[in-house]
Amino acid sequence: MPQRAGMPTQTRIILGVLLLAALIVPLLGQPYYTKLVSRMAIYAIAALSLDLLVGYAGLVSFGHAAFFGIGVYCAGLLPMVGIDQAWIIVPAAIACAALYGLFSGAVSLRASGLYFIFITLAFAEMMFYVAQGLRMFGGDDGFRLPRPTQLMAGLSLGNPVVLAYTMLVTLVIAIYVARRITGSHFGRVVIAARDNETKLRAIGLSPYPYRLTLYVIASALCAVAGVGFANLVEYASPASMSWVVSGEMLFMVILGSAATVIGPVLGAVVFVGLETVLSSLTEHWLFWLGLILVLRVLLLRHGLYGLLSGRGQR
């Protein structure tokens, strides 16, 4: 398992270079690349939140897109009743996602292994169908965002540069929060539950409340990414919470390397890059993405970060 104590120098360098590049790109005045940076930052936040579950708690959730979608729909639906301020939309998204996370987590965490994977998938599918059932909001097709989310002082997330910097700041905060969580007493209990549940029980700790708390935190964090995503594509549709999105998020986590904080960020950056390059080369890029995913699992056992940090490949 990867080291957690302190951030290794090379992690700092990778993060620093990525962040610097991300900060410069929006200044170039090219909306296409600015949006690419936003997309990477948004997926990085989502992947980071999923890694809290997959990497640190060992809980393979295949339904994380539900919380992403909740964020997307909050950013899309609230402006319809005249609320477009970020300080209401973001807390609302967090509250909705946390609530659904509490409900679905309370049930799914009772199960483990295969059951947990299937149940989280089913709960996300339920959310997908709820969104699809909203016929007055386009049903399966979804709807255009009536108005982008407004920050204070006339800044709007509809502006690509504002969005990019906002999501980058959010990402940095998310990384900080994730590291604080995983390094805390709470985080250690969660990790211990992953590594040896029996021992944890033997010292008198039940993993359930810890896991549920982490599940709610991860859900809420993902919803924030969803709000950003709605503003990026200026659209809200059930597709944002389809099982493919859940799979892609898992792909980002494992592409980078789970339980490293930096891994999922790297995974998200490479995934979005891959998606962009492949889709410009061929209409059938999903086919190649699928193949790459299979090859990643079969051949590259420690992820990209493992490759960079020189840990041996088996």
Binding site: V130, G133, M136, L286, F287, G290, L291
Partner: protein, 299 residues
């Protein structure tokens, strides 16, 4: 709501339940024997449907096309098992989930490359055209009845195979302890390959038969797979009985729910409840029995 409608919906529910049963049994079999979580299972159903469409354009005799479609799927399953699944048996859940998810999106796109994005037409066999009079006022399409019957027969055949044949004994032994079975001189690799093919064929059978009824297009198997996963969770992993009970329950609840809830709760709320009912049932079962109705182990 007339009695005739209730009867018709009951038959529809039974049919959905049987198709789900075919899917769920494949999932449960692959996990029970090889500890494999296979999210590409929905793609096998889709391949079955595309292959019957392709076979139908070349072969006029339906039974021949039917067999050809299943054979083609079996070939794909053998290749898939050899290339991707075999190295996965020893891996953790996360690796299996991701690799089979990758396979699924690759196959979903491959059919678009071969057949395009438009839905493909599949003709039902002519001799199954027409309807059967069930009561004096109710008639039901013969083809749909045939689907239910064939699915039930397939389930019965599988049960006979598993419970009363030498191969079935080996498969059950392999599920208990693959290493020991291997040490006793059984070719476990071949056995596992066989189980994967059987599991894929059950899904493909569903696809072949659903072809004329639902739109044959990329990703058509995935909603059914996810429903089947809910069935597996409700019934309990590794249990045939659980899969049967849960599939029929889910089939009936889903079919009737779509009719009843919108009438009770209005269009919007009714649709939402109807779509979510199966998952709420699953949540309820898991809250009471975390390993499903008949399941024993979850890891």
């Amino acid at each position: 709501m007339s009695a005739a409608l209730v009867l018709e919906q009951a038959f529809n529910g039974l049919q959905l339940g049987m198709i789900l049963f075919l899917m769920a049994v494949g999932v449960t079999l692959a996990f029970g024997v090889m500890s494999l979580i296979n999210l590409a299972h929905g793609s096998m159903l889709m391949l079955g449907a595309y292959f019957i469409a392709a076979a139908g354009t070349h072969i006029t005799a339906y039974p021949l096309a039917f067999v050809a479609a299943l054979l083609l799927t079996a070939l794909c399953a053998v290749a898939l098992e050899w290339l991707v699944m075999r190295p996965l048996y020893q891996r953790g859940h996360l690796d299996q989930v991701l690799a089979t998810f990758g396979v699924s999106i690759a196959i979903n796109e491959a059919v678009v490359m071969l057949w395009g994005r438009e839905a493909v037409f599949v003709a039902p066999p002519e001799w199954l055209d027409g309807a059967v009079a069930i009561t004096e006022t109710v008639s039901y399409p013969l083809y749909r009845l045939a689907i239910t019957a064939v699915a039930a027969l397939a389930g019965l055949a599988l049960w006979l195979l598993l419970a009363h044949s030498r191969l079935g004994m080996r498969i059950r032994a392999g599920a208990e302890n693959g290493d020991i079975v291997g040490a006793l001189g059984v070719n476990v690799r071949l056995l596992f390959c066989g189980v994967f093919v059987i599991s894929s064929l059950l899904a493909a059978l569903g696809g072949v038969m659903l072809g004329p009824l639902i739109a044959v297009q990329s990703g058509m198997g995935d909603p059914l797979l996810i429903l089947a996963l809910a069935v597996v969770v409700i019934g309990g992993v590794g249990s045939l009985k659980g899969a049967l009970v849960a599939s029929l329950a889910v089939g009936v609840i889903d079919t009737f729910g779509r009719m009843i809830w919108p009438q009770l709760l209005g269009d919007l709320l009714g649709n939402i409840v109807a779509n979510g009912a199966v998952y709420l049932l699953m949540a309820l079962v898991i809250a009471i029995r975390p390993t499903g109705l008949y399941g024993q182990h979850g890891n």
